[in-house]
Symmetry: C2
Subunit: 200 residues, 2 copies
């Protein structure tokens, strides 16, 4: 991406999926992460939490030069006004997937861009539909794939996601962890407004 050539990108995430996604935009970047407390006030609306967590992550990572643009993000799976986190055990995974079964749920990713000059944050929502599965199918999946590292107990970019997610409304990559098209658009606007004053 020629227009971003003067920037050094930093991704504040250890997630291999996010690294893969950012790479799809043709960007080179460095990974820089910190340990992070994800607890957040219960007064904040669920759909706003990812953006606030992305901002908070951003504030805890140092920029090393005026050429750097830091990208942080956070993704939540929301069903009936409840956030589905990583399941603690098989019973919890069964419960999450049984509730998502045959229904729509929402995946919200919040993103924060930060340079020495400023900060921009935004969030994007995608509706995801699961087709109806039998209980045995769900149980086999949990036993075979052990989805204990996955919010909502599933990954859209794995066999289970290919079979079960029959339709979405919104950005597919947002569900994986970065809304690629929106991210590119916001980067263009945010960085474009700065390139004049950028030190090189």
């Amino acid at each position: 991406m020629k227009q971003f050539d003067t920037w050094d990108f930093v991704l504040g995430s250890s997630s291999p999926r996010r690294q893969d996604l950012l790479g799809r935009l043709g960007l080179e970047f460095e990974i820089r992460t910190v340990d992070f407390d994800e607890r957040i006030s219960e007064d904040i609306a669920l759909s706003e939490q990812p953006e606030i967590l992305a901002l908070r992550k951003s504030n805890q990572i140092e920029l090393n030069s005026n050429r750097e643009c830091l990208i942080t993000s956070d993704t939540s799976v929301i069903f009936r006004n409840e956030i589905l986190n990583k399941p603690q055990n098989k019973a919890e995974a069964m419960q999450m997937l049984s509730s998502l079964n045959g229904n729509w749920h929402e995946v919200v990713t919040g993103v924060c861009l930060r340079t020495a000059e400023g900060v921009l944050s935004f969030s994007e929502s995608t509706q995801v539909h699961f087709r109806t599965m039998g209980q045995e199918f769900i149980e086999d999946y949990i036993d075979d794939y052990q989805p204990y590292d996955k919010a909502g107990s599933y990954g859209i970019q794995e066999l289970f996601g290919y079979i079960v997610v029959d339709k979405i409304e919104g950005c597919y990559f947002n569900v994986m962890g970065l809304p690629l098209s929106r991210l590119y658009l916001e980067m263009e606007k945010f960085l474009g407004a700065q390139s004049g004053s950028q030190q090189s």
Copy 2:
């Protein structure tokens, strides 16, 4: 996929994208293609043509045993009641992408499953939205990526697609060439009903 273990799958397509997609369902398969005349009567509704072409492809490929299940498919990009084929030249690619620019269009994939016992066909539609691009962006893309092998002049699974497709309604993989979730569901029903009588 244990329930499909007794079948030998044959994919009637030379498209690397379709081969990649079918592989994502964890299936092993052989490729078997024929030269094929894609002309079709103008009396047939545009959204029905992919399914009819998938059926026609299926009928031209031989099954070699009672264990084989042949999968054929066809995908059309439809905008304002017109099918967008592969562009013949730069002017045509410019025209197609300029018309899709900032608008919704439809991608329809027709699929046909065939065994010695029977045939099943279906089709799936996905709505795709392009965000608004400048003419220069479109022209740079065509010059750099030469999308002359792509119906509608774009691939959703390439840099251009990542940047430009900001939302969809329906199945993402359907736009790439196979509606994975629907395909899996239909295979379960179609092959499940036959497994009792299958020779092994």
